[in-house]
Symmetry: C2
Subunit: 346 residues, 2 copies
């Protein structure tokens, strides 16, 4: 299926081709206020075809909800879109997730293309066909699995991205090395943040490769959740508690990778040397989060509500070694406690 | 794909089997207030497994919207459903359409089963995987194409269905004969409304057969829209105009079949004898609708907005003969005018 991640540092040839062949009745671009300001001109300069409308949503996770969808659906209808129209999602993961969902449900499905503008969306969110919105406090509760017609990665958009957002996306690159490609991990370890287009491509191809094997997450795709079982729980908790400092997705996942690295050492045979290496590489870019002891049971409870965990069990993806992950690992609550002690006492 | 329409006049063996094999974390039944009252007990009596929750929505097309979806999504979350849970839609097309949509989007897709309780949903709405809700005035604007795990047709539910609703569903049976199965048409012509379980099964199998060939409506599935191009426009118009008498879906489609029967005679070679036969059989069960001359341009405009019509064209499915339909026919506005004259002057 997903043979369609085009990486172009200069042009938009693949998208132009799609539009030329697609005979679309309308072409609409979805942006948020920031990508409208920072990315839209760059995009338009590179695309020769006519855009019939721009839809702008408010930026940020708090707008990835059904109210915003209603607005986008209404705008698509107002622009006269039908199911032969094309939606181009130009933005970070919020725009690609929400845009993908609205497109996949508008008139039972219109085509969409993702043009990711954050590092996180380039190597992760824009790829793989998971679309979705949040519902109340639970993230990505409502959504579909629908593949974009094309994912077009243009590195130029990263020029305006805030450093902190960039580093957040870098966490997913590290994850890709850890779960499936030792060489990618080695490159990142060496280059640190000085990555280039080839590294972004290598990282996005890790995801493409995994999703190709298992688009509906019946098995191997779960590997992408390394660092995310605890990471998501931490992220949700911080989102709900306004007294807590804000935590970006990649920042929560960075902590999750150290915690689940520890669990890997305890449960699935990851060596102490590799655990220390993971700890060192991740810590070089991500500050320690100050967890409190009594928050740990809350995280455990949140994990039980994660949609990836069915029948009330908590499933972890753990590492056997760097570059090799194993799914569906059971872990005791005591081991989770220990992981937090390791994390805090490093 | 759709090898899963089980027709059981007595039991629920196929559903019980699915539940036994499915290892579902929760099983929830969705009903509307009427099917709660009239069908739920009958259903429960026949099912040995535990139901973890009942979700009841208000009946009627006017509740097939995003507000009701929000309520259903919330209830699914409150019942602790995850993506290994099962939703059983017990009701007419409103329940199966909306239930299918909420299930196909809850946590990116949980299983659902349709147990249709109206004739229309038995032979049509519950089959084929089109899910959806209305958005503003436009019908089925938001939705997905997602197959139910099972469609279980139990004739017993028809015992409480109002006569007028029954006849409305009968229109779709006539349609199935007209587009694909002359023998089915002959049976209905002869038996009139005295149909039995075999006839319902024959009719639902026409739809199953067509959907199997073309689940995403790229070609042959469009045949199911015979009578629906004009029928939908008429239905929408009547819905919006509260001074008009209410018109059930099948009643609008009945008029649509006569109108498009006339177009078939003019455009795609349907004989005059067959046109007269269609007119006679349909008229035996459906009263003439009093169209006014100045409504015709409104219908034409509405058809241009139908999601099946892309690029501003109106595409008709027409008949070559009874039992043989042809898709993507172009018709002039003048011919549409003539069709209404034929309809009114019969
Ligand atoms: N679908 C998936 O498989 C998947 C995977 C991972 C994450 N996600 C989702 O992705 C979202 C996070 O994505 P994100 O980190 O890209 O967040 P985001 O879309 O919110 O972008 C982060 C911020 O950067 C701004 N921005 C985007 N591009 C910019 C640019 N080029 N220059 C300047 N500012 C720019 C945005 O307006 C926003 O304020 C979450 O909602 C998460 O659930 C989805
Ligand atoms: N998905 C598809 O492919 C498809 C195809 C055709 C129609 N539809 C949709 O189906 C809907 C119409 O379906 P419908 O005609 O079944 O309407 P419906 O679901 O509104 O049912 C009609 C009425 O009968 C009541 N009812 C249902 N079963 C009953 C029973 N056994 N006894 C007594 N009362 C009962 C309902 O509560 C309702 O008041 C429309 O929304 C239409 O868009 C969908
Ligand atoms: Zn992530
Ligand atoms: Zn119909």
């Amino acid at each position: 299926m997903q043979k369609n991640v085009y990486f172009e540092t200069l042009g938009t040839a693949s998208l132009n081709q799609l539009v030329q062949n697609g005979n679309y009745s309308k072409i609409i671009v979805l942006v948020d206020e920031n990508t409208h300001e920072k990315c839209l001109d760059k995009f338009m300069e590179r695309t020769p075809f006519t855009i019939d409308g721009i839809i702008t949503i408010k930026p940020g996770e708090e707008h990835k909800n059904i109210t915003t969808c209603n607005m986008v659906w209404q705008s698509l209808a107002d622009f006269g879109c039908d199911r032969k129209s094309l939606l181009i999602n130009l933005g970070g993961g919020v725009v690609t997730d929400l845009g993908g969902f609205t497109a996949s449900t508008f008139k039972r499905g219109m085509d969409f293309v993702n043009v990711p503008t954050t590092l996180l969306s380039m190597v992760d969110a824009a790829i793989g066909g998971k679309t979705g919105i949040d519902f109340g406090v639970l993230k990505n509760q409502i959504g579909t699995i629908t593949q974009p017609k094309l994912v077009l990665i243009l590195q130029t958009f990263l020029e305006t991205l805030e450093k902190r957002q960039f580093v957040s996306g870098y966490a997913e690159m590290l994850k890709h090395g850890l779960i499936a490609k030792h060489a990618h991990w080695e490159t990142l370890k060496q280059k640190q943040l000085e990555i280039d287009a080839d590294d972004i491509e290598a990282s996005s191809q890790v995801k493409v490769g995994i999703v190709e094997q298992d688009p509906y997450e019946m098995g191997v795709r779960k590997k992408l959740n390394f660092g995310h079982t605890l990471g998501h729980a931490i992220e949700s908790y911080y989102l709900e508690h306004l007294t807590k400092p804000t935590l970006l997705h990649g920042e929560a996942i960075a902590a999750g990778m150290i915690l689940e690295g520890y669990l890997s050492h305890k449960v699935s045979g990851l060596s102490k040397v590799s655990l220390d290496e993971i700890n060192k590489v991740v810590s070089a870019h991500f500050d320690k989060i100050d967890f409190e002891k009594d928050e740990i049971p809350i995280f455990i409870d949140l994990m039980k509500h994660d949609k990836k965990n069915t029948h009330g069990n908590i499933n972890f993806v753990l590492l056997r070694e760097i570059g090799n992950a194993v799914i569906d690992c059971k872990v005791s609550e005591k081991e989770i406690q220990e992981a937090f002690s390791y994390y805090m006492d490093r």
